[in-house]
Symmetry: C2
Subunit: 246 residues, 2 copies
């Protein structure tokens, strides 16, 4: 946690109260902060700033002299369409995409998404993972999360409206590389694709790549190396971070 | 595993034998492959290719018709200097850096590296993590792993010799951004920095950044957002992947 995010109701005048167990534990065990010390805080959906610890108890930390002056960093102008991955990796993927500033996250079914993934209790915890990502990335604005359990209707009916510029599909077996694509068409931030489709473990099957490309996406590889979904997401989004947050 | 890597001694003429438990389990439970099916294999330090399953037993899979024809992808021309992280994240970091093709990995002490990390049994398992990374990234060539338990002597005596071009230190509080730096000096692959220093959780302290910059590194940030070490490593190395594996 590089900042502690609190709901707006936690702030009254220049005071704030922290009661969430994870945040209390972070103050106690990681920051080891005591009365009089300054914490980085933020209001969910609002600004970032600091507060001074006034009292600490088992159940609450009270802050005084709270000032929220910084606007959060801008979101990346991108929608990531992610084939729903194994529940175990979902947490880190949501955290990382949120910390990196992805504006819209679409979780979609795919051939290699096992049906049980949609029943996982982890799916109900996405809000937690988002909060972790915001507190990691020092942001206050929630990304929008969308879920589509049916791939074909999503690609045919929803995807085209998400794309105002270009869409790309990450596919290790594509003929063209992202590097060539960026050099030729997207060296400027406002020309970078605004939809990025990433498969889960095992990637997209040919039918899925064909349907995505038939609806406006370009299939691109990142070289001969095949990366874990998490590594691929971060390696790809690093391009947007560099171009859009210079 | 996107390929199964075997030591050279496992190959005899056009046959090969797989006996490692993790690989046998992968064939059985993930690939669910049977006699007559073709597997992607590679020789550690050698070439990549295929083999056909001839027999399967509890203890071994025998392959026939083994042909190794593909050279592995080139390594990225980069040394990553990483502050030794928590053992829990070490595995994924080593895997990802290996899959991405980092040529040299230096694990170094830092102020925020707890002493216990150097005693972790995970450190003795680095070879396993490297093998996982090679099998993920479809490569056969081991990265070189170096360990330096003392930060100052490493930076003063070893680091300058690792740098033939430029070094950079990832530091969220640096004045200059990586985007500006790449635009101004390193748009060509052969001008990209060849040393990249990345802190563990909490990053480098000011003294460490100062010592690194005094010995030839430039401190750069990637925008206002602070990323987990794993996310930062992948987001950063994505630049090298794109520039050096076009």
């Amino acid at each position: 946690m590089n900042c502690l995010l609190l709901p707006s109701a936690a702030f009254i005048d220049s005071r704030a109260t922290i009661t969430a167990a994870a945040q209390l534990m972070h103050i106690r065990e990681v920051l080891k902060a005591g009365v009089g010390e300054t914490l980085k805080v933020g209001m969910l959906g609002g600004k970032l700033g600091t507060g001074v610890i006034e009292t600490i108890s088992e159940r609450a930390v009270h802050l005084s002299d709270v000032t929220l002056t910084h606007v959060p960093p801008p979101k990346l102008d991108i929608t990531v369409v992610l084939a729903l991955p194994r529940p175990k990796v979902l947490r880190r993927l949501i955290m990382d995409m949120t910390a990196l500033g992805v504006r819209d996250i679409v979780l979609v079914n795919s051939y290699r998404t096992e049906k049980s993934y949609w029943q996982s209790p982890q799916l109900a915890r996405i809000d937690e993972f988002v909060l972790e990502g915001l507190q990691q990335g020092v942001d206050t604005v929630l990304p929008r999360i969308h879920m589509h359990k049916r791939f074909k209707p999503f690609v045919e009916d929803v995807l085209p409206d998400l794309m105002t510029r270009q869409g790309i599909v990450a596919h290790p077996y594509a003929k063209r590389s992202l590097a060539q694509y960026i050099q030729s068409t997207a060296s400027q931030a406002d020309l970078l694709p605004d939809v990025l489709c990433i498969g889960a473990e095992g990637g997209w099957i040919d039918y899925e790549v064909a349907l995505l490309t038939a609806h406006g996406c370009t299939a691109l590889h990142m070289g001969a190396r095949i990366l874990r979904t998490e590594a691929a997401v971060n390696a790809l989004l690093g391009q947007w971070l560099l171009h859009q947050n210079p």
